[in-house]
Symmetry: C2
Subunit: 236 residues, 2 copies
């Protein structure tokens, strides 16, 4: 594979571009206050998110057909609500489920992406479905050129087909694409397929006591602390 100039950047989104933890927690806390529930929004968010990887596993293993993340999120949300012994009407549940469409970016994300967009194609490479990613982009001002990732491939990262479908649709060799993520495992999966890699440290994605992805665990092509630092390093 020729070592070619980077033409496109593709991004993990949850945790790398947006702060899902405090965004979900804030909406849950507001809802709890309205409903008179006694619960902690951050804990609720963390529990909900903890069901994310298990919910995708049957699809990745080929044991279940593809279902979009909105649907997996809804199933996990029902589980968490039951655990907390609280309930919501259908419309309220649907609205809360779509909190993942309303996540706030890290402070450096929009300024950094806006600079990077002038020089590169920018696309998502997320497990979020297309409408989730599009609505989030409108909400948060994320300047994607297009949405790639799980729904086009009908599978979930880190399955190779997700990354490779994205490269194929961009008409690029993986060596022309820089996969950007705050998660070492995501970068390793992409590197194994020939993608360039950029790590962005997000030391509070899981809160103040985060015990994974606190450092780059390999010699990724770029290792940075923010989207703006990545733009600096790429001359954007």
């Amino acid at each position: 594979m020729a070592d070619q100039v980077v033409k496109a950047l593709v991004f993990d989104v949850f945790g790398t571009v947006v702060d899902w933890r405090t965004s979900v927690a804030a909406e849950v806390d507001a809802l709890a206050a309205k409903k008179g529930w006694t619960l902690d929004g951050v804990e609720f968010a963390m529990r909900w998110r903890s069901l994310y990887a298990p919910s995708m596993r049957p699809v990745r293993r080929g044991e279940a057909p593809y279902r979009r993340l909105d649907d997996l999120h809804r199933e996990s949300l029902r589980t968490v609500l039951q655990e907390y012994e609280v309930s919501l009407g259908d419309d309220e549940l649907e609205h809360l489920n779509k909190v993942w469409h309303r996540l706030h970016p890290w402070p450096d994300s929009v300024p950094g992406l806006t600079r990077l967009k002038k020089k590169f194609i920018l696309a998502t490479m997320s497990n979020g479905n297309v409408s989730l990613m599009v609505n989030m982009a409108k909400f948060a001002g994320l300047p994607w050129d297009t949405i790639l990732g799980s729904e086009p491939a009908r599978n979930y990262k880190p399955e190779p087909v997700v990354y490779l479908t994205g490269a194929d649709w961009l008409g690029l060799d993986p060596s022309q694409i820089l996969m950007t993520a705050a998660h070492n495992s995501d970068l390793q999966a992409a590197r194994d397929l020939g993608f360039k890699t950029a790590f962005i440290l997000r030391p509070t994605e899981y809160g103040p006591n985060q015990h994974k992805d606190n450092e780059a665990e390999s010699d990724w092509d770029y290792i940075t602390n923010s989207m703006e630092e990545l733009a600096d390093k790429l001359g954007a």
Copy 2:
């Protein structure tokens, strides 16, 4: 189907948003001058485009597997070059084939889309493949939120699956989506599926003597002369 408020606009692109005829002709004329060919760039462009609909037909009829438009364009280009009794090296042919990635917008397209983007989700609903649409957007400054259309559905308009896959990926009912095109047949196909419709008159898409799509042939929801007029009518 509920008559709901429009949330997203999806666009035909060739002819509706960009002026393929003069864009292709200009590059062909420049190449002809360089090569010493005696030919007319506009005629060449028109002949190349005339092979567009026939090239998609076997896919639409299910007689051939999906191939992306770049590949159909390349096959048609080889035919046209043979007809003109001229030839190109592989790299030159590939570069000329990608002239469809470098089409110039009509003067009102970028200002109109920029206004519309503040109020609506904007996506392509074109037969162009994803990389063609992404590269054209970078070249022409088209502010799409995402690329939909033929490649996600692995088929070509006016097959219903192309429009319906787009609606499904946006998580919207067709009645929440405004299909925008300069071609009456495209709007009819979308209306038949429940989409809202907007006609933009492009009276010189095929040159000064254009003899089709010179007027709205049905009572489309919006009938306009430019993207900016559409933005006016939608309060964007």
